[in-house]
């Protein structure tokens, strides 16, 4: 989630073809240091036996060959956001390629060549929009130069469109391919003077562009994590430690080996009660000819476990402990003014406690990975991973190999939501392949996935607010406590990090004169990870529920209340009030400030589009919340009602979003539609419980996610037109939906909601 900045030397775009004519090489730093792929040199390769097929590769992301085929690298993982389409689309638009004939190639994990590939934190568009424009613009510039030379015209009078260079004054035009010869003697343009298209000039950016894989997906030919086969491969299914840190005392493989198709049983050693984010859990792997044999073989294993230090862990007990903690003074994380004194003398105080459960990611594709440890001591992986570079590093570490000897191919991901950032399942496959000297696919079952996730933390929060005699909100005291992600790796990490606190808690943007934000200790008794929008989920639930309650106390319309609390148009940086750093999602706060005017715009827009005032007059059960996360501003209005059978339904959801320049408007809308439905599950139906260190739920019967009848009936996404730097939309739809829904349910039922998931309302 927090970006890892690095850059490394250039590696050739392909290594199979002979480099035909390298030219000047220079390193160009473009945008973020995390973006690689720009160690430029015109890289010509000839792939035919006589060199008759030229490939022009001005950078790692793009090539054009003499068949006029434009190939663009997708270096970020596709888990449903559409990024495999939306970033290549930027390259193609800037280049002027014929989008319909562009070929998209998924990159292997290779940070040196492609830059950051950690597809997480709603980073991709934010981090790579500008570099992708430059990748396309570099090639376009050179093509225009070539055309200018060929036709003896000014390059600036030419343009590129649909895979052609065009000189409209003379009517001359040429395919890109026809100019490749001329490019061979040309140098890479100076990046400082590189001309990018105007926003109004784009044909793809800002439009509804269908995803590249839509036909393959509907035909069943798209390749996901478990869809790749190799000759001689074996399938592994693993019985993992029931509680994190549990150790195998004894096991018998005899019964498992009696199952037809089962060939071997292998133990994988775990890494203790704080095993880290990239290590396998302790387990016994059953290796078989096919998946069913492996599943049956596993069921026949006899294992005696020492459940270890988490064997008495009850999440319900920890929840009560955490709630007690919030009544004490905690560790100060942000302070402004003098909350304690002001609360002591406030005319009125409101104090509420909020609880939210553990959540599992429950991607419909359970984790799976295929590894092939080869005779030459290298290993090749095919995996649905959000973070191929970390998978590569982790496999190299586990197998004691050079990173260069590990190749990670990225398949489509059948959902990610943060689960598939962690490469534990990839390491399992690699370890087993090395052990049996054959390709091995590790297949997780749904029960494995529910039992051994990196969970979203359960949480307790207490907020105490003070009003003065005139009803002004003058004090805000927020206590938050939840086992931190850091606790997965270390027993000493008892508080949320600055990063987790900065996810919707310490970045409280409202103009309240006295603010005090505190965290409390909670130990991690399982593997804690990050789930779509991370601690924004519970922070937004508490804060926006509380603000709705305060608005009611003040007799104010919740929308007008938020607009008033946002105060003057201003840019917040928080840092002077923070204990520690405000990470701002890895971006410089000066470049990406917290802009109250932008938030007010989305609040006003959603209010207008949803007919908020009229809904209030008509006593509709509508709820509102606004929440910025991952540098994207979102406001949300949810309507609830009862159907003829008295069941709660969600007839309508309206979102307004300011994500800067809107790159692929259809995928922005689809992320908001999906975000509302994902958040509906978190709010209404999902929860993980631990008893004796072990997860109680097993499958989709116990861990429920919403089904079509429970989904919001209509979801509208209103995108603010903007020329600001683009930001991501994968996670930002989730946080505000939950409190908006809770605030709407209050209107319907007269009962405030302090605990997720909302019980007894949805059937």
């Amino acid at each position: 989630m927090i970006p890892k900045f690095s850059f490394s030397p250039f590696k050739k775009f392909t290594n199979k073809s002979k480099v035909f004519r390298p030219s000047r090489r220079e390193f160009l730093k473009i945008g973020s240091l995390a973006t690689g792929g720009f160690m430029l040199g015109v890289n010509f390769q000839c792939s035919g036996p006589k060199g008759e097929t030229l490939t022009f590769a001005p950078n790692a992301y793009l090539s054009i060959n003499s068949d006029n085929l434009v190939s663009i690298i997708a270096h970020r993982s596709e888990m449903g956001t559409g990024i495999r389409t939306s970033l290549p689309m930027v390259v193609a638009d800037e280049l002027g390629a014929d989008w319909k004939s562009v070929k998209i190639i998924q990159a292997v994990g290779d940070e040196a060549t492609y830059g950051d590939q950690n597809t997480d934190g709603s980073y991709s568009i934010r981090m790579f929009f500008e570099p992708m424009r430059r990748a396309g613009a570099t090639a376009r510039h050179m093509l225009l130069e070539a055309a200018g030379k060929k036709w003896e015209v000014a390059p600036s009078d030419c343009d590129t469109r649909d895979g052609m260079v065009i000189h409209s004054a003379s009517g001359q035009q040429a395919k890109f391919a026809d100019l490749l010869d001329l490019l061979q003697d040309m140098e890479i343009p100076d990046q400082d003077g590189l001309k990018l298209r105007k926003l109004s000039d784009y044909k793809l950016i800002g439009k509804d562009i269908p995803i590249y894989d839509v036909a393959a997906i509907t035909r069943g030919t798209a390749v996901f994590g478990a869809d790749m086969d190799l000759p001689d491969q074996q399938i592994a299914v693993i019985q993992r430690s029931p509680a994190v840190g549990a150790k195998v005392v004894n096991y018998s493989e005899d019964k498992a080996l009696e199952v037809p198709g089962v060939n071997q049983v292998i133990k994988i050693s775990g890494n203790g009660a704080h095993p880290g984010l990239n290590k396998p859990l302790e387990g016994i792997a059953v290796i078989a000819d096919n998946t069913w044999a492996a599943i049956k073989g596993r069921a026949a294993l006899q294992i005696e476990w020492d459940l270890g230090e988490n064997k008495d862990y009850q999440c319900a007990t920890q929840m009560e402990d955490m709630i007690r903690e919030t009544l004490e003074d905690g560790r100060l994380r942000r302070e402004k003014g003098d909350v304690k004194n002001v609360l002591g003398s406030a005319a009125k105080t409101i104090e509420k406690t909020y609880r939210a459960p553990y959540y599992a990611h429950a991607t419909i594709e359970p984790p799976a990975a295929l590894a092939h440890y080869k005779e030459d001591g290298t290993v090749e992986i095919w995996a649905p991973t959000q973070h191929p570079q970390w998978a590569r590093d982790s496999v190299a570490e586990a197998l004691e190999l050079d990173v260069a000897d590990v190749r990670v191919n990225v398949t489509l991901l059948g959902g990610g939501f943060g689960r598939k950032s962690k490469p534990d399942y990839v390491v399992e496959a690699a370890l087993l392949s090395k052990a049996i000297k054959k390709p091995v696919r590790v297949q997780w079952t749904r029960e494995d996935d529910i039992h051994h996730d990196f969970y979203h933390s359960h949480s307790a929060q207490r907020i105490k607010a003070g009003l003065d005699a005139q009803g002004n909100l003058i004090a805000w005291n927020h206590h938050t406590v939840f086992p931190a992600i850091g606790g997965t790796s270390s027993a000493d990490e008892l508080h949320p990090s600055d990063g987790e606190m900065g996810l919707g808690c310490t970045d409280f943007p409202y103009d309240v004169p006295n603010i005090r934000i505190e965290s409390h200790e909670a130990k991690a008794h399982t593997r804690i990870g990050w789930l779509r929008s991370v601690s924004n989920i519970h922070h937004a639930f508490a804060i926006s529920s509380m603000l709705d309650e305060i608005a009611e106390q003040r007799g104010m319309d919740p929308v007008a209340h938020i607009l008033a609390l946002l105060g003057e148009d201003r840019q917040l940086s928080f840092n002077e009030e923070m204990e520690g750093e405000y990470p701002n999602y890895g971006e410089d706060i000066a470049a990406y400030p917290w802009d109250t005017a932008r938030m007010k715009r989305v609040v006003e827009r959603v209010s207008r589009e949803a007919n908020w005032s009229k809904s209030l007059q008509n006593e509709k059960a509508v709820g509102f919340a606004a929440h910025k996360s991952f540098l994207t501003y979102v406001a949300c209005i949810v309507e609830v009602s009862k159907d003829e059978n008295g069941k709660i339904i969600i007839p309508e959801v309206h979102y307004a979003v300011d994500c800067g320049i809107a790159v692929n408007t259809d995928r922005i809308r689809s992320q908001f539609e999906g975000g509302a439905q994902f958040a509906s599950s978190l709010a209404m139906s999902s929860a993980i419980n631990f008893e004796n260190g072990q997860v109680k739920q097993n499958n989709f019967d116990g861990y429920q996610i919403i089904r079509m009848p429970q989904a919001p009936k209509k979801i509208f996404t209103h995108i603010i037109e903007s020329t600001d730097k683009p930001t991501g939309v994968g996670e930002p739809p989730v946080p505000p939906f939950i409190p908006a829904l809770c605030n709407a349910l209050y209107k319907l039922n007269g009962k405030r909601i302090y605990e997720l998931p909302v019980k007894g309302l949805f059937t």
Binding site: E258, R707, M708
Partner: protein, 157 residues
């Protein structure tokens, strides 16, 4: 040798072809399709008929292949996503593309197969009928609204 005794030969009719497989009688159809016949469009999601990712047709009826043992298939005609249409041109597949339904795409073949069986039985389903018929197919990305819209489009074609 002892192990081999528990394996049986089955001849099944799948996507218009007759195929012979050797499997234990309790092997779910899903794993026959994926592991033994290498048809990868049918997906594994839960193994308990709770999510619908593995939906196929048996004599035109949508079933969860993860929970149907191979021994129960007999002479019934099995259709997977690969056999739904010749070139991916089933009205639902076209409607799915028109509405750009998929996000990650993993559950979508199961959704399409389930929807195809629905339209076979009820060519013009109401919104409530679509919701009820599709309630067994989970989508974690949240494409339910577009699935509904695509089914409505296909039902009109």
């Amino acid at each position: 040798m002892e192990k081999l005794n528990t394996m049986e030969k089955f001849t099944i009719s799948i996507n218009g072809e007759s195929r012979e497989v050797t499997a234990p009688a309790d092997m779910p159809l899903l794993w026959v399709i994926r592991d033994l016949l290498s048809l990868k469009g049918t997906k594994f999601g839960c193994g308990q008929a709770l999510c619908g990712a593995c939906t196929v047709h048996l004599d035109g009826v949508a079933i969860r292949s993860c929970s149907m043992p191979i021994s129960e298939v007999g002479a019934q005609e099995l259709t997977t996503i690969e056999g739904l249409s010749a070139n991916g041109e089933h009205p639902l597949q076209k409607a799915w593309q028109e509405h750009v339904v998929p996000q990650c795409g993993y559950c979508q073949t199961g959704q399409i197969m389930n929807a195809a069986a629905l339209l076979q039985e009820n060519p013009s389903p109401s919104e409530a009928e679509i919701e009820n018929a599709m309630a067994g197919n989970l989508c974690r990305c949240g494409t339910y609204n577009r699935i509904k819209a695509a089914i409505q489009t296909a039902s009109k074609s």
